[in-house]
């Protein structure tokens, strides 16, 4: 009975985890938006800095745009043009 209960709890916890990972592709934790509509996300164990537009699907959390500023989990739209 006890084993069955543990398995049941584990299954429910797993279901929740699966749902969360589907929502954030298992990786992303969004941080607050900035004016340009981009925001920085952490990745992996919360220590990668990447940027994405707020309305991109979280599954695209590694699509880095337009850039991150070190340390502050802050994104910038500054973009020097090389033409």
């Amino acid at each position: 009975m006890k084993t069955k209960h543990v398995l049941y709890v584990a299954a429910v916890a797993g279901l929740l985890l699966l749902s969360a990972s589907a929502a954030y592709a298992g990786f992303c934790t969004p941080t607050p938006d900035v004016a340009c509509g981009a925001y920085c996300v952490s990745w992996g164990s919360g220590t990668f800095y990447t940027c994405q537009y707020a309305f991109l699907e979280p599954a695209f959390c590694i699509e880095v745009y337009p850039g991150c500023i070190e340390g502050g989990y802050h994104c910038s739209c500054e973009d020097p043009f090389l033409l």
Binding site: G14, G44, Y49, E57, G67, E70, S76, F81, L82
Partner: protein, 309 residues
């Protein structure tokens, strides 16, 4: 019994793999090791998949390229997947690999600040690439190239666009070939002494693992080239929202569409290969304020106009 079997099957199929995903990244890098001489170090990796499972590339054949914001003609090369510490400042970041390159440049600001527990670890993208080259035998030594991709910034997502990829290259580098994402691009030649554009190529198509020749040409003696760069008032990342148009209005108020119009999130670039006379560039749309700028074209020259909101 059946319940127990189902639970184990569920755990094996979903819970354990999904729980293991976050650890997969930390196996590749331990951010707590990003400490160089007491400073927070920078480490850059690249992923090869879009929208699917996350896969980071290994380091074989890869390098990191940083363009300093205070010297856009330079491209500093650093090892991929290792900690390093460039001078503090802003950079455009690209990753190069074997027939792979980032589809857009990523902007970072690196502070070289005191180490406080973790380095600055970044994951960029890399997509299939080939090279573009130009015949440089008859070009003056002060010529450099600006290679602009026409579509890589719009191909990573069906609905969204980023900023276009432009790489600067020395005469030697463009003679050897510059790595660019597959797809269409143009090469513009620039004279560093006169600080003028001198030639523009027609679009060429880069194929994976191959080198394509671009042939920039100067305008005919009675014509002028024109590059118009329109900065948007605010980014337009969603392609379907991008309704801006750019046109040349000649002195008789006749409208001439550009030969190329490259759309991106923050800018539009319009290219005309053979205009003449005087007129103005007009950029407008139902959703942005109209911008325009006049110019008297000089025959035989390639002009550049920058329009800002």
């Amino acid at each position: 019994m059946l319940f127990r079997v189902l639970c184990w099957a569920y755990l094996a199929a979903f819970v354990l793999p999904s729980a293991a995903l976050p650890e997969k990244a930390s196996e590749i890098i331990d951010p707590s090791t990003g400490n160089i001489d007491g400073k927070k170090a920078l480490g850059i990796w690249a992923s090869g998949t879009i929208g699917g499972d996350v896969e980071l590339f290994g380091s074989a054949g890869f390098s990191v390229h940083l363009v300093p914001h205070d010297d856009l003609d330079r491209e500093l090369v650093f090892p991929y997947g290792e900690w390093f510490s460039p001078p503090a400042g802003g950079y455009q970041v690209l990753v190069e690999g074997p027939n792979l390159v980032s589809p857009t440049a990523m902007t970072i600001r690196y502070g070289a600040s005191p180490f406080a527990g973790q380095g600055m670890a970044i994951v960029h993208l890399a997509v299939p690439a080939g090279k573009v080259r130009v015949r440089t035998d008859n070009l003056p030594a002060n010529t450099v190239a600006r290679v602009m991709h026409l579509e890589s910034h719009r191909q990573q997502h069906p609905e969204y666009q980023r900023n276009m990829l432009v790489r600067r290259a020395s005469l030697a580098a463009i003679g050897e070939g510059v790595l660019m994402p597959t797809g269409r691009l143009i090469v513009v030649l620039y004279d560093q002494i006169s600080e003028e554009y001198v030639a523009t190529s027609q679009p060429v198509h880069v194929e994976e693992g191959k080198t394509v020749l671009a042939e920039p040409f100067s305008p005919a003696a009675d014509k002028s080239g024109l590059l118009a760069v329109v900065k948007r008032p605010s980014p337009v990342p969603r392609k379907q929202d991008d309704d801006a148009e750019v046109r040349w209005m000649d002195s008789a108020d006749r409208s001439v569409a550009p030969d190329l119009l490259i759309r991106s999130s923050s800018r539009l670039v319009a290219v005309w290969y053979g205009l003449s006379g005087s007129g103005r560039v007009v950029a407008d749309s139902p959703t942005i304020a109209r911008q325009e700028m006049g110019v008297g074209l000089v025959p035989g020259k390639v002009h550049r106009l920058d329009l800002y909101p």
